[in-house]
Every structure is written in structure tokens, then in C-alpha cells.
């Protein structure tokens, strides 16, 4: 099974993507299966290690939190753009992280950047510190707590 599907999640995603794009005809399901079987092999020579993902409740919790946060921060950033507050201050935050897994860090980078108002800028792998930019920086410690308790705890559960 491992030899046939070196990256099972990637194979499954490719299959679903192909079927969604071409419609549910038997011929295309066959083509989708062939694509899912062959294409993930491209990843092997690149030497990426397999992500260690634990399928658990934490995934659903994380998805729910991220969706809620994206909606809330869309409205918050919209307000900042429309009503210029003179006391608004933006700035950088240095944030120490406990995450080591590169896939988990990539997910955190995408979550932080896809959410309006926070932007992932840099990751220092030696000190394990990430640099983020925040549009509405009221209390630095509040942002650090938010990211560590809301996202990092769940990502640690999923990836490590």
C-alpha cells in the first residue's frame, strides 16, 4: 500500500479535484484514478518526507476557529479601511513557536496570512521565532496568546 500510494492524501486530493473539474462520468473517474496513482510519484525524487498527520477532532476545531476568525477579521479590517482611526498602530511581533514540523509551520503561515490583519513575514529556524506583522496592534501579548492558544495548540495536536 505504501509503495503504491507514497502520498495517500495527495493522491486522494488529486482524485477528488479531477472528478470535480470534469464531472462524474465513468471515463473521467478512471482517468482520475490513473492521475491519482501516477502523479504523486513526482514527489518521491524531490525527497520530501511524508507529513505525519493525525486525523482527529482538533482538525474540525481548527477549521471552525479559522473560518470564524477570517469572517471576524474581514469585518475588522474593513472597518479600519473605511473609518480611519487616528490611534491605530501597526507593527511587527516576534513570536516564539513550539512547532517544528515544516508542514505545520506552512499551515500556520497560510492561516495567519489568509486572515486579514495578520501577515507572516519570516521564520527563523534556529531560534524558532516567527516574525509577523499585525495591522491593528493594540496589545502585543494579547496577539501572542491568541496565536499560541488558538492555533498552535491545535496544530501541535494534529502534526506532532
Amino acid at each position: 500500500m505504501r509503495r503504491l500510494f507514497p502520498f495517500p492524501l495527495l493522491a486522494f486530493s488529486l482524485f477528488v479535484m479531477w472528478v470535480l473539474l470534469t464531472g462524474f462520468s465513468p471515463g473521467h473517474v478512471l482517468v482520475a484514478a490513473a492521475v491519482a496513482l501516477l502523479l504523486p510519484r513526482v514527489m518521491l525524487p524531490l525527497g520530501w518526507e511524508r507529513p505525519k498527520i493525525r486525523f482527529c477532532r482538533a482538525m474540525l476545531t481548527l477549521a471552525r476557529i479559522v473560518i470564524a476568525d477570517i469572517i471576524r477579521s474581514n469585518i475588522a479590517v474593513g472597518k479600519i479601511v473605511l473609518m480611519r482611526r487616528p490611534d491605530r498602530k501597526s507593527g511587527f511581533i516576534q513570536l516564539p513557536v513550539a512547532l517544528r514540523d515544516p508542514y505545520a509551520l506552512a499551515v500556520l503561515a497560510i492561516i495567519l496570512t489568509a486572515t486579514p490583519g495578520t501577515l507572516w513575514v519570516q521564520h527563523d529556524p534556529r531560534r524558532n521565532v516567527i516574525l509577523i506583522h499585525v495591522l491593528d496592534l493594540i496589545d502585543e501579548q494579547q496577539w501572542i496568546d491568541l496565536i499560541k492558544h488558538r492555533y498552535e495548540r491545535l496544530l501541535l495536536e494534529i502534526f506532532e
Binding site: 469572517i71 511587527f92 497560510i110 507572516w120 527563523d124 531560534r127 495591522l135
Partner: protein, 115 residues
């Protein structure tokens, strides 16, 4: 000119509201590019269109074509997925480039590289 005359009224209202909301969020994000003053602030603005703007417009499209063709049309989910995954990569690269230049010019408002 009516593009979708077969769309029932209730669906037209839902689709219209979703499209309007999505377009409004995208417009506010675009306005942000003008109204915010520094580069790092401006990078935040387009994410409005890339997150909620895209989701609302794609949802409107899914509802519209599902009702019109009376079968589930959900491949717009892929648009949401790929826009959500790829926009941050561009934004991070832009921010990194700006940071690199600011640091090499010795700008005071960016944190120094401690490596």
C-alpha cells in the same frame, strides 16, 4: 439584459445578496490599498478580496448553477481552496522582499535580523 431568466426569484435574491456582499468586501479591500499608508499595512488589504470576497462570490455561483441545472455544481470549492492556498504565498514573498530591502537600507521601523 437578463442572463439567467430561469432562475427562480428566491434563488435570485440569495445569489444577488451574496454577490453584492462579496463584491463589497473586495471593493473595501481594494480601497485599503489606497487608504493605508505603509507597504506592510497595504499587504493586509487585498486579503479581504482573497478570503471572504472569493468565498461569497463562489458560493453565489454554486447556488446559481445548482438551481439552474438542478444538480449539485460544487467545483467552485476548488477556486476557494486554491485562492486561499496561493494568495498567502505571494503576499509572504512580497513582504519578505520589502523586509529585505528595508533591512539593507537600514530602515529603523523594521526589526533587525538577529541571525
Amino acid at each position: 439584459m437578463i442572463q439567467a431568466p430561469d432562475l427562480p426569484g428566491w434563488a435570485a435574491i440569495i445569489v444577488g445578496l451574496l454577490l453584492f456582499a462579496g463584491a463589497a468586501f473586495t471593493l473595501v479591500g481594494t480601497l485599503g490599498l489606497i487608504r493605508l499608508k505603509t507597504f506592510y499595512d497595504r499587504v493586509h488589504a487585498p486579503t479581504l478580496g482573497a478570503s471572504l470576497g472569493t468565498v461569497l462570490v463562489a458560493t453565489a455561483s454554486m447556488i446559481c448553477f445548482t438551481v439552474l441545472q438542478t444538480r449539485p455544481v460544487i467545483h467552485e470549492l476548488l477556486i476557494i481552496l486554491f485562492v486561499t492556498l496561493t494568495t498567502p504565498v505571494t503576499l509572504i514573498l512580497l513582504a519578505r522582499a520589502a523586509l529585505y530591502r528595508d533591512r539593507s537600507e537600514g530602515a529603523a521601523h523594521v526589526p533587525a535580523d538577529d541571525e
